[in-house]
């Protein structure tokens, strides 16, 4: 498997209520071992997955949101968040976790992982991908 493909994982669902978000994250983490050109997108209700300060104690579910902060350690450095999806839900970038990655080539400088993109811009990014995993 020498070829490298552009892989994008698209998250469109709220973190709880259904299992899609959690099982999608499992695919992202496993997939990181395959050394593809990976990006992750959060759009529609999927933007709720990144909201900071989640508390699941009332619903008996594991709060898996801290795992997103580990994506940088898995060399997943491109996380697209759709601007309109945030706005439609009354959210801003400040409501989301601050996700970073460390750039080895620049003395492990911390860099932002989240790229805020418009719906139209996201369309162009989608068009560049080889494989879309849609959750």
């Amino acid at each position: 498997m020498s070829q490298t493909k552009k892989f994008m994982y698209i998250n469109r669902k709220a973190p709880y209520g259904t299992i899609y978000a959690w099982e999608a994250l499992e695919v992202v983490l496993i997939g990181a071992a395959f050394e593809q050109d990976v990006s992750v997108t959060f759009m529609d209700d999927g933007v709720y997955q990144l909201v900071k300060g989640q508390d699941t104690s009332g619903i008996g579910m594991k709060n898996f949101s801290p795992t997103y902060a580990a994506l940088g350690d898995f060399e997943i450095t491109k996380i697209y968040v759709e601007q309109e999806s945030l706005e439609e839900r009354g959210l801003t970038l400040d409501d989301l976790q601050h996700l970073v990655w460390e750039d080895e080539d620049e003395d492990y400088a911390e860099k932002d992982s989240i790229r805020l993109v418009s719906r139209a811009e996201l369309g162009s990014v989608l068009a560049e991908q080889d494989v879309l995993f849609n959750f």
């Binding site: 299992i19 099982e23 695919v27 496993i30 997939g31 395959f34 494989v131 879309l132 995993f133």
Partner: protein, 130 residues
């Protein structure tokens, strides 16, 4: 064209298992190759042989098994998703101390890496689900 198909929904509750089946069948008839069919989320329920639909309804599980046999298709149930939902083969029964198995013929249980590898090896990954 070489295809990997991902099925994310269980049978009967949701049409995606039917749509994926008809897509797979049509693709094979057109001469395309199916590299793998990967069942994820509730999709793993497509692989239990204990399914007993009414006689006048389609048997979704048996239909998959027949398709796999006829065309020698690799049909994989995600192990983590299958464990959560109680889909068990001999190996899983032994590992997890279960007293029964229910995997249907033509299916095997393996890891999510099989899905990712399907995406790498195939010309298209086609996903069925919400």
């Amino acid at each position: 064209m070489k295809l990997t198909i991902q099925v994310n929904e269980g049978p009967y509750q949701h049409q995606s298992a039917d749509s994926a089946y008809y897509f797979a069948k049509a693709a094979l008839e057109k001469g395309h190759e199916i590299y793998r069919i990967f069942f994820y989320h509730d999709g793993v329920n497509n692989g239990t042989r204990l399914t007993t639909p009414p006689q006048d309804d389609r048997n979704i599980v048996a239909r998959w098994s027949e398709l796999a046999k006829e065309h020698d298709i690799d049909m994989v149930l995600c192990v983590a998703a299958a464990q959560r939902r109680g889909i068990v083969d001999d190996g899983e029964a032994e590992r997890n101390g279960k007293d029964a198995t229910n995997i249907a013929p033509g299916f095997r249980i393996s890891g999510l890496g099989q899905l990712v590898e399907g995406g790498i090896q195939s010309d298209r990954l086609v996903v069925f689900g919400d």
